[in-house]
Symmetry: C2
Subunit: 336 residues, 2 copies
C-alpha cells in the first residue's frame, strides 16, 4: 500500500490551492486553461483517482443507479440489464444489481437500504407475489424511480411496459386464423398488471372471434413445478386443446414435457405460443412460436427516462411508455 494521492498532493506539488485543483479537475469555467492543463497532466502522471466517497458525501451525487429485478438469470432481464448498463456507462454512471427472487421481504429490504443515498436513481421490475405497495409509495417520493415491465399502476412514477394486452390478443387471433378452436391459456403473473393484461387480451380476442372462454382451459401458475406439470397434464387429458398460449417461458416447459409423455405431436396436434426471450432461436424446437419482448430496448429506454428525470428536464411527469412485442412465428407449416 503506497501513499494514496489526493487533490492535496496535486495542490502541494503545483503550489496552488486545493480548491483550484478541485475546480480544475471538474473542468470549471473559472479556471484558466493553462492551470487546468497542468493539473490534468500531473493527475495523469500520478494516476490520481478522485475518491468517490468523499465526492459523493459533499455533492450528494453518487453517479450510481440501482437495478432491482426478480432474477438476472432470465433472458428478458439479462437483456434489459445489458441495455441499462450500456446507457449508464455512456453517462459515466455505475450500475448496482439486486435480485428479489420474487421475495417481497427482500424487495423491501433493498428499497429501504437504497433510501440511504447510495444511488441517484432506481430502475425496478417488481416482484410478483406482492400485494402491498406502500414501500414504493414512500420510495418514489424520496428518489427518482422508473418501473419497467412489471409495474404497479397505483404508484405515481414513470413506467415502461410492453403491449401485454395486444400481444396475447394478436397471438390468439393468429391461432384462430390457423384453424384452432380450443385455445388453452397458461396463466401467470396474476398479481401483476402485465399478467392481467395478457389474460384480458386472450379473453377479448376469444370473444371477438366468437369463441367461448372457459376456466377449464386455463391453468394457473403454481410455485411448485410438479403442480404445474400435473395441472397441465389434466388439461391435456380432459380438454384436449388444439393450441396453448403460455404467459411465461416457465409454463411452456412443462407443457412440452407433458406433450412428450402423452405423445401429443407439436405442432400437428397442438400449437404452442409462449412469451419468451430466448436469444438462440435456431436452437429452439422449431415449433415454438414466441411472443418476444424488446428487452434490450426496454432497458435502454428505462435508463433514458431515468436520466431525463435526473437531468430535471423530463418532458411530462411520470410518463408511461409502451413498447411493442414481436410475434415470432417459427412454425412455417402452421399457417398456410
Amino acid at each position: 500500500m503506497k501513499e494514496t494521492i489526493t487533490i492535496k498532493t496535486l495542490a502541494k506539488e503545483l503550489n496552488i490551492s486545493i480548491s483550484t485543483v478541485s475546480k480544475a479537475l471538474n473542468d470549471s469555467y473559472e479556471i484558466s486553461i493553462e492551470t487546468k492543463q497542468k493539473v490534468w497532466d500531473l493527475a495523469k502522471m500520478l494516476k490520481y483517482n478522485r475518491n468517490p466517497s468523499a465526492s459523493n458525501l459533499r455533492s450528494h451525487k453518487t453517479k450510481t443507479i440501482a437495478v432491482i429485478i426478480p432474477e438476472v438469470a432470465n433472458n428478458f432481464f439479462s437483456q434489459a440489464i445489458n441495455g441499462i448498463e450500456e446507457v449508464a456507462r455512456k453517462r459515466g454512471y455505475h450500475v448496482l444489481i439486486y435480485q428479489t427472487h420474487e421475495n417481497t421481504e427482500l424487495e423491501i429490504a433493498f428499497t429501504d437500504s437504497l433510501l440511504s443515498g447510495r444511488v441517484d436513481g432506481i430502475l425496478i421490475s417488481v416482484s410478483s407475489d406482492n400485494n402491498n405497495h406502500e414501500h414504493f409509495a414512500t420510495l418514489v417520493k424520496e428518489i427518482p424511480t422508473v418501473f419497467f415491465d412489471r409495474v404497479y399502476e397505483d404508484i405515481d412514477a414513470a413506467k415502461i411496459t410492453t403491449d401485454d394486452y395486444e400481444s396475447t390478443y394478436n397471438a390468439t387471433s393468429y391461432l384462430v386464423e390457423c384453424g384452432c378452436k380450443k385455445i388453452a391459456y397458461l396463466y401467470a403473473l396474476n398479481n401483476l398488471n402485465a399478467g392481467k393484461q395478457r389474460m384480458s387480451g386472450y379473453r377479448d380476442a376469444l370473444s371477438a372471434l366468437q369463441l367461448e372462454y372457459s376456466d377449464k382451459l386455463t391453468v394457473n401458475y403454481d410455485k411448485n413445478a410438479e403442480v404445474n406439470y400435473h395441472n397441465i397434464k389434466q388439461l391435456m387429458l380432459h380438454e384436449r386443446p388444439d393450441a396453448v398460449i403460455s404467459s411465461i417461458e416457465d409454463l411452456a416447459l412443462p407443457c412440452y414435457y407433458v406433450c412428450n409423455e402423452l405423445a401429443i405431436s407439436i405442432p400437428e396436434d397442438l400449437k404452442i405460443i409462449s412469451f419468451s426471450n430466448l436469444n438462440t432461436a435456431p436452437l429452439l424446437n422449431p415449433s415454438l412460436t414466441t411472443i418476444t419482448q424488446p428487452a434490450l430496448e426496454m432497458g435502454r429506454e428505462a435508463a433514458a427516462i431515468l436520466f431525463r428525470i435526473l437531468d430535471k428536464k423530463h418532458p411530462e411527469p411520470n410518463e408511461w411508455l409502451t413498447l411493442k412485442s414481436t410475434l415470432i412465428k417459427r412454425d412455417s407449416t402452421a399457417c398456410r
Copy 2:
C-alpha cells in the same frame, strides 16, 4: 425532500453524544446494552439509514464488489452473476456490474476507475481480444481480485475455472464411442486459456483414439457472423464431418443454419456437441448435446473466494479452483 436524519439527529433526540450513537449503531462493546437498545429503537422508528459515503470515507470499506464480464445477456454469465449476487447479499455487500463487450479499452477503463476505491474487491472474467495484461498486473496488487472462467495464467491472483480440457476430451471420446470418425471442431476464445485447453482436449482425445487431427476439420471463430457461416458451410461441403464440437454456443448456431440449408439431418448425418448454458433444456432441439458449465456454482465460489481474501484468512494464497462441467446427452438415440 424532508430533512435527512443522521446520527446527529438521533444523538440530539436521546440527549447523548454523537460518538455514543455511532458506537451503539456499530454494536460496540463499550456501550451499555440499554443505550444500544434505545438507539436502535429510535433508529428504526425514524428509519435512520447510515450514509454510506460518509462511512466509506472514514472506514475505507465500501461493502461493494465489482463484477466485470464480457456480456450480461449470456446464459453462462447471467447465471454466474446470480450466484455472485446471492453470496454478496448474504454478506451485506452490494454488486456493481460492468460489461466489456470483449473490448480491451473498456476493460482498462473499468479497472482503472475501480482503482479509486469504489469497491472492496473485484470479480472478473476477462475479455478475449486482449494481449496485454499489464493493467491487471497493477490492479491485482492494489485490490483483491478473483478471476473466474476466463483467466490469465500469468497474473498472480486467485482463479476459478472449469475443466476445459477434460470436457472436450470426454466429449470427443463420447462421439468416437458413438461411431463418429470425422469430428470437426469450431474453435473460439483462441486468446484465452479456456479456448486453448478446449482445443487441446479435443486434439489429445483424437490422438489417444487413433484418429488424426486435421486443420481442415477446424473452423476458427470470426467476429463477422457471415464469415463463420461461410466457413462452416465450406467445412460441411468439402469435409463432410460426421460430428462437430463447438467451443461456444455462438458457433453452434450457424452450424445449425448450415445443416438446415444443406439438408443435413441432425443427428443422423451429423452429431453436434456444443458448450452451452441454455437453461431451458426441453425447449432445445433435442439433438443438441451440450457441455454445460456450473455457472451458478462458479459465481458462488468466486464470490466466496473473494470474501475469504477480504476476510484476510484465505487458506493458501491465490488458489486456483477447478469445477466440473457436465456433458448433457440430449440425443437418446445417438449411442446405443
